[in-house]
Symmetry: C2
Subunit: 106 residues, 2 copies
């Protein structure tokens, strides 16, 4: 396998290719939240949210600020915002179904 930019990108996209993590980022783009607030707003268990926050944190897609016992997670708006713009633009211009193509019901 030839190596290049694709190698740099790989972890980046693997990290994003997960519904829980995408939903997490979506929530955090609206407002910063603690883990439990995230869990509640996502309807997921706390441990699952924690598990998925870890890779997001490692790649600096999110960052933390402490608030007493809580840890408030913030989205990296620069990267995530830019990314969402690309996706939206692609969906508008190149997806016949506006981004809903081949989507399996889950």
């Amino acid at each position: 396998m030839k190596k290049g930019l694709s190698e740099t990108c790989y972890r980046f996209f693997v990290n994003l290719a997960n519904p829980t993590r995408l939903a997490t980022l979506e929530q955090l783009m609206k407002k910063p939240m603690s883990v439990n607030e995230l869990a509640e707003s996502l309807g997921q268990e706390q441990s699952m949210v924690s598990h998925n926050l870890k890779p997001l944190l490692e790649c600096n897609f999110v960052y933390i600020e402490r608030d007493g016992k809580k840890r408030i997670y913030f989205a990296n708006k620069e990267t995530i915002g830019a990314l969402l713009k690309v996706v939206e633009n692609h969906a508008q211009n190149f997806c016949p179904t506006g981004g809903k193509c081949h989507l399996k019901e889950s």
Copy 2:
């Protein structure tokens, strides 16, 4: 699971979260190629390249033009170019290791 933008994005990123497909896009950003040319330049089997081109095509990350027996694949430069810029920017600004963090040797 709450549904929203994350749902639109999911297939998008799943599609990109694959080293073969990323390498394919990287090659096609340089120049359009047939399947066999791609296979050779990637050092992969033809069937594997074909398998991986399929989802790229479905999401319109690439498109085809016929040339006799060959099918020349083109990258969607608008989307892929914008995407790579976001990744590069993120790597520069937010990755301590410039995008090489936690990369396993393969």
